[in-house]
Amino acid sequence: MTVYNGARIVIECLKKENVDTLFCYPGGVVIPIFDELYQHGEGIRMVQPRHEQGGTHAADAYARSTGKPGVVLVTSGPGATNTVTGIATAYIDSSPMVVITGQVSTRYVGTDAFQEADITGITMPITKENILVREVEDLAPAIKRAFHIAVSGRPGPVLVDVPKDVLLAETEFTYPEEFSLESYKPTYKGHPKQISRAMDLIAEAKRPLILAGGGIQISGSTDLVARFIDRYAIPVVYTLMGHGVRPSDPAMSVGNIGMHGTVFGNWAVQNCDLLIALGTRFSDRIIGDTVSFAPKAKKIQVDVDPAEIGKSVEVDVPIVGDLRNVMAKMLEMKRKKPDTAPWLSELQKKRAEFPLTYSQGDDIKPQFLLEKARDILPRDLIVVTDVGQHQMWCHQYFDYTLPRSFITSGGLGTMGYGVPAGIGAKLGNPDREVVVFCGDGGFQMTLQELITIRREKLAVKIVVLDNSFLGMVRQWQDLFHGKRYSGVDLGGNPDFAALAQALGIRARRVEKPDDVEPALREMAASKEAMLLHVIISKEENVWPMVAAGSSLNDVRTS
């Protein structure tokens, strides 16, 4: 019989879950856990961010880039509330995380004690599940429950709140082998009749189109989807989260859908006769106006979360299930290949008609920078972004041929995500090149995590695209508010290269188009972390654009 205190039980549970990386920041009530980590934390790499928000984003990106849950440990009160933005970011993008927060002792809970915050109340709408553990006997089962729920079904963050007296109380430690709960049984197997109906529609379609969402990579079905595309010659458009599918014929990829999708991508959606939506929740940023969305198409939707089916867009054939199982089943069913040749050649014509363009100038155009980056950086690159214009350009200008290689805050649009997310992606993928692209606004929200990059000796590369504006907001003010640039001028930005150097990060300032290529080559060759502070043209807009709530038919290109 092994008797441990609650703090030791937390550590032993993490070991049972094979947690190799723990994003943690200490504080009063979690000292017992740090004490146990000090003595018994072998095999667990403690990564200490400079701020709990950074630690939470890092854990989220670790999860997105590896598929394993990201694990965070913070103290009560402000430690816990500092994780809230990170949890909300992970929740809306279905990223699995387990966040362990300390709590004041049970006898003080509800008394406004020092560093007390009702974190289970606060995180109720942004967690898949949260648990306040009241007895030490409940601790191991709660952690088992948390890991199980975080990774199963539609993944998401789970929070476990552990009061200090529970951490100090002792009990016999046994880790539950299995977790089962009558009320929690995600549907994994798609309904065979529905799958068969979907295949019938596909066989009859003249202009079918696959809409690739984030669920494809989350469920590990990028290869299956690519095989399906190959077999049935069905073209595919991507959402922001849907990159990473690689059909044998690159012509099958017809660009991106949505607000900053390509003209021909959106055209394909509006003109297809069958839309096969795989693991996408039809966010307002991709469908624009609901009524005129894909008006000619019958719609098939596959999702593991039944609540996403028909939430925003009515579908003809709903399939609830794990995409991996559903895709495998669809590949098993033999159906006649639809004749899509005329449709494909029409799409090729549209592609040629509406390429992504920009005009060169004396200053560095962000699109030029990203084209160069695409050509110079390794093919198996992991691109991490912050939020804003640069994020959309990264969405447009890289070819994502591998799953889990575009790490970006899609649903919540969290500025400040980029730099800490780079840490998590690199820790999860030490052998791959990880490059963070960041605007000057978002960079300044979490740049203290450069210190974490140096301390952990992580070769994260960072490109700051500096237009001295909050560029995306400025673009909206330009287009929709009479160029009244209110609250967006970041003029007087620091010299980020000098700042990075002061924090121990190699850095270089890039101001001329001719310097872009050598700087990128130097960064790519660097064995250690490196930052490029790139001064880009000030008022470049992201094109194409569909205004919020407008029909995808109304794509503006300037």
Partner: protein, 171 residues
Amino acid sequence: MTRNLAEHTISILVYNKPGVLSKVMSLITRRGFNMESVSAEKTTGDKTRIIVAVRADEQSLEQIQKQLYKIVDVLKVTPIDPEHRIIKELAFVKVKNASGSTSRTGNMELFQLVAVFGGEIVNATPSGFVFQVTGSRDKINSFLSLIPENLIVEIARTGIVAINKWPSTVE
């Protein structure tokens, strides 16, 4: 677009654990549904049944059921069939003694009203009475509408409980 916001009753079976009721309530309000009534009590074993009445159109009603299932401790969500249900609510109404008041309604009229509605006088003192009425929300609402407002001191209602009749049982 005008939406037909009918009142719907939903029966939700949950594990009886701390915080579940607040998770259910928070979800319903956060997703923009108007809650008309709520009642909850332990049923058998470790389970609690929550009955809520919400105003929603058909499509939102389906969405709210799916969203409720996302709460880990929710076992079963059953819409109550308006054509095939048993529904009850209980109300206590504390009223002033009408004799000596300026009201045109006297105590006898009040007692008759209680009798007509099949209610009971569960507390009687020289200062006033407490009436108990049970029935559908409509029935209780019309009972309340017939008592002069200036006599009413306090109203306490349970919120509705409802169950589908055989053979379409809830569980």
